[in-house]
Symmetry: C2
Subunit: 117 residues, 2 copies
């Protein structure tokens, strides 16, 4: 998976309020699928699908405890997404000072169109 694809998966995963609420719950610690499903007016398979998308994005990982598949939050994907956004926020809040230096960095990391200049 390329860096761009990982950002696609991460931001897609974060774009749903149910999945953001699941992450909020997992900040408190590991939880099983049933435990995660309980607060929602939604079927268990629906929650399983949400977990699959979070897992695909690398935002969670899952263990094994008898029949349970406890989920825990994972830091790496979170870090990559935050890092990407932080660059933009910094430029914006810095009112475009020291822009040139930052642009070089963005060019190499931010996913640019397929053109080389």
């Amino acid at each position: 998976m390329t860096e761009s694809e990982r950002l696609d998966a991460t931001f897609t995963a974060l774009a749903d309020p149910t999945r953001r609420a699941i992450l909020a719950r997992l900040i408190e610690g590991e939880a099983s699928v049933m435990e995660l499903a309980e607060p929602f007016a939604m079927s268990q398979p629906a929650i399983s699908k949400h977990l699959k998308m979070l897992e695909r994005a690398g935002l969670i990982s899952r263990g094994r405890d008898a029949q349970r598949r406890p989920c825990r939050i994972e830091g790496e994907a979170l870090k990559a997404a935050t890092g990407w956004l932080e660059q933009y926020r910094k430029v914006w809040e810095g009112n475009f000072r020291r822009l040139d230096a930052l642009l070089d960095d963005l060019q190499s990391t931010a996913g640019r169109p397929e053109r080389d200049n």
Copy 2:
């Protein structure tokens, strides 16, 4: 638009590589639709749709210059999304220290399931 809906729109907008590339371009300064479309192997209407999603998320705004509708990047939505992610990253990177204090904050801002406890 609720806070949760705004995060939905923002993360959805960020989940596409074309739109991220457009933001990367706009960091350099304002640009018209045609200018933004030029690097991509994609029709002008496709770019207009992408811009619409970025605008809906509040990530860009548009001016008027003769027939041109120059786009510029906007900081607020970027800031909200970064802020949301930062909370999680901090907890994660802090290895769950001072978790209790942070949880209170997350509870009130992070978009939780429709249950009240």
